[in-house]
């Protein structure tokens, strides 16, 4: 799925441990997919950013990617 790929691509660009990035779709309802993002413990700050600025930007771009597939997606950063 394109949207998952976009999320994983962005996350890998932001972290120090790209091999530890994983994206798991969990069952949301049919119109909205929840994507769980996991990164290395040391990289949590990198994907969240100051006052959540980076996390917000990730969600915005991932949402745009999802509209290209005619769906919507919510990103949850899991530790």
């Amino acid at each position: 799925m394109m949207t998952e790929e976009v999320l994983a691509f962005i996350a890998r660009k932001l972290v120090d441990h790209p091999d530890d990035v994983s994206v798991t779709p969990v069952d949301g309802d049919r119109v909205d997919t929840v994507l769980e993002l996991r990164v290395h413990a040391d990289d949590m700050g990198k994907v969240i950013g100051k006052r959540g600025r980076t996390a917000k930007a990730i969600r915005t771009v991932v949402k745009a990617a999802a509209t290209r597939e005619g769906t919507s997606a919510t990103v949850e950063i899991v530790d």
Partner: protein
């Protein structure tokens, strides 16, 4: 002054032609370096052709020294003492190399995203003394711009975070898609001019909208070129804004 442009397009020929057009020079006035031939393919094998076109500094002499035609690295050009790019502690050549590196990282980010989303688009990279610009054109979709530029703004934030991680200094790369932010900047300049006129008339300070560092600098420069007014920034990022004041004589 633009001295060098990089361009990524579907073929080397397209990329070179577009870069020359932008620089406003003929093929004999510039040096073309092919950084990637580009590969065609439907899926992951696809890559854009990537060229770097540099205006030759000797073009006004009408004479090309033998052996100089392949010198394209900005740092080796600056070493001959003609670049005159010293702006701060970092030498012009170092600065340009840093900005080139940032621009490349940013272009890779954007190109990767376009590929995953299966969007077309040519990428132009322009580097001047203080700033790198990465412009995506011919995308044929507003997807990455978003409502009121929200997606583009998010993209800029991510590119900033990603490049900053690699280069570990403040990022100076600005992303644009189909000229959207350039048009926004032009509107900001219009409002700034209106503000200047108002300050001159009333003597009261005029507050502009919140802007990023690059946009604020453009406004400060605009005010500085105008007599009778001065400007300062106030507030905290991302709500920092330029205020125009009447100059005290």
């Amino acid at each position: 002054m633009t001295r060098m442009i990089e361009k990524r397009a579907s073929t080397v020929k397209d990329a070179t032609a577009a870069a020359l057009r932008e620089l406003g020079v003929g093929p004999d006035e510039a040096t073309v370096e092919v950084l990637n031939e580009g590969r065609r393919g439907l899926f992951s094998g696809r890559s854009r052709a990537h060229v770097r076109v540099t205006v030759r500094e000797d073009r006004s002499n009408g004479e090309t020294p033998v052996g100089d035609t392949l010198v394209t690295e900005p740092d080796s050009r600056a070493e001959d003492g003609t670049a005159g790019l010293e702006t701060d502690d970092t030498s012009g050549a170092d600065r340009l190399a840093e900005l080139n590196e940032e621009a490349d990282l940013a272009a890779d980010f954007v190109e990767g995203l376009l590929d995953i989303l299966e969007l077309p688009g040519d990428i132009e990279i322009e580097v001047d003394e203080n700033q790198a610009f990465v412009n995506v054109v011919e995308v044929g979709s507003g997807l990455l711009i978003g409502r009121r530029g929200a997606t583009l703004e998010a993209l800029q934030e991510l590119v900033r975070a990603a490049t900053q991680r690699h280069v570990e200094r403040r990022s100076h790369v600005r992303i644009d898609i189909e000229g959207y932010r350039q048009r926004q900047l032009d509107k900001m300049k219009d409002r700034c001019r209106e503000g200047i006129a108002q300050v001159r008339e009333t003597g009261e300070p005029f507050r502009l909208e919140a802007m990023d560092a690059f946009e604020r600098k453009v406004m400060h420069d605009l005010v500085a070129r105008t007599g009778g007014v001065t400007s300062a920034s106030e507030g905290v990022e991302p709500r920092r804004r330029v205020v125009v004041y009447a100059a005290e004589e």
